[in-house]
Symmetry: none
Subunit: 257 residues, 2 copies
DNA sequence: ACCGAAAATGATTGACTTTGACCAACATTG
DNA sequence: CAATGTTGGTCAAAGTCAATCATTTTCGGT
């Protein structure tokens, strides 16, 4: 392994935990204690971590690193939630009205779909979601709520991966509401996480009616992984920025210019 | 554990409670009294806490330093007016130290097990839980976290019922940490919700080592549904109120009378 | 492709630091 | 005042460190 790789792995480890011991790094880096000590000494000299007896601690030691980490990740979610609030809310509020008596509904994790929850008023329906926080809110509001199993992704509080996609297989939804990071003519609907995309794809496959929630800022964007084509469902948006998308015909534009 | 980690944990403990005794820190830090005394002496020298006879007290930054001095004089660790939360915290903090490298750990939903999370420092382990809030917190702190599938109970934010118990069946845990509403000689371990009890029973069945977290107030109580006998696992408590329980032999009592 | 210098690595070692156990002295409680 | 809990000092054991050296890898020059 390259010295550079070890440096990155050490720094990366200290991003995930406040401190690390030399001996704990041995199996991670597959290098001798001597080498790791030299690495830590070098990184300390560069000011990228603080060397202490027995190991190293992440820089900015004054702060409580645990609290800091939680705050950082929470603010990830919060920051995204605050951007384009109005547009998202218009989209979310309309989507919520589509839920009808007796529906089995899937609600994708994400900020836009999360905004739906406060607008939902159909108690004679069952809700399934992969958003841990969504599930808590839905249950607190008295809706019959089910959560998927699987790994929890910290930044979005979503259940993702193979396990989550697999636990979707028992359901046959009437309607599903899916968020997206990008809507593009050529590349369809895309998201930044491949494990999230697996869940979205599976949910779409298992639903009679598919609604994609995308505020106008998402058009023209392409994220890492395409999880479906534009024709996969009905796109709900506040405004279509580019008329060429209308050729698809399955777009609901809420705020006509 | 690095000296730095102990420092942080001591300071962290003092953020949650105004004072702490040396002997109470032993199970939390998994270090000897000698070491903890040295740590407290060092932290006192750095001005991050105030060393007093028997333990340490927090230095409240918001307070007027003059007033603080008065408090220092008056405040006596040995005049312990501990609340129930303190007892839960002692139990939870100790339980967290039991998690080791490579473990596959199950953490039951509930407040006592929830208190464990802030004390967990083993990043080389995998965590499975049926607590939606627990999963969010664990993931936010950077732990590899999995959530069970199933219905979400609003009042406890727990995933419960047949589906949850079923989704446990794929796992084989090294350790599980289970909360309980009652610990009784005759009626064993009990909880108030039959659907929660199903999950607890299944988790216990699927774990090599079983830890029951029960602060001293739980002894002698019987809730609606028994989910296991007293012999099902090791009971961790702050204090055993009735010596007759010691006949079972698998009880860890953290706070000697 | 081959060579030799330079750099990186892993093992070893003696010095140094930290830790836990012990204990006699001291403080607190009832 | 007796019983109990706490303290700081000492010591041996365990853990960690930096320095050193032999070996391996990398790299530039031929």
């Amino acid at each position: 392994m390259l010295q550079y790789e070890r440096f990155e792995k050490i720094i990366d480890t200290l991003r995930k935990q406040p401190s690390v011991r030399v001996v704990d790094l041995v199996p991670i880096l597959d290098a001798s204690e001597s080498t790791i000590r030299r690495d830590i000494a070098e990184l300390d000299k560069e000011g990228r971590l603080k060397k202490v007896f027995g190991g190293a601690i992440a820089i900015d030691a004054d702060e409580d690193p645990q609290a800091r980490k939680v705050n950082v990740q929470r603010s990830d979610v919060n920051a995204k939630a605050k951007t384009r609030t109005d547009e998202k809310m218009i989209v979310a509020a309309y989507a919520a009205t589509l839920i009808e008596k007796g529906d089995l509904v899937y609600i994708d994790a994400g900020t836009t779909t999360g905004s739906m929850i406060e607008h939902i008023d159909c108690y004679d329906a069952t809700y399934v979601t992969n958003g841990a926080r969504h599930a808590i809110e839905l249950a607190a509001r008295g809706f019959r709520t089910y959560l998927l199993s699987g790994q929890v992704k910290a930044s979005t509080e979503a259940i993702i991966g193979y396990d989550a996609a697999d636990s979707l297989r028992k359901y046959h939804f009437n309607k599903c509401f899916i968020g997206t990071d990008g809507v593009d003519q050529e590349n369809g609907l895309s998201t930044s996480d491949i494990e999230e995309s697996m869940v979205k794809t599976e949910a779409i496959k298992r639903s009679e009616k598919v609604y994609i929630l995308a505020d106008s800022s998402k058009f023209g964007l392409v994220a890492s992984v395409t999880f479906a084509g534009l024709e996969a469902g009905t796109i709900i948006t506040d405004r279509i920025p580019d008329q060429s998308y209308q050729a698809h015909g399955n777009i609901i534009e809420l705020k006509r210019q």
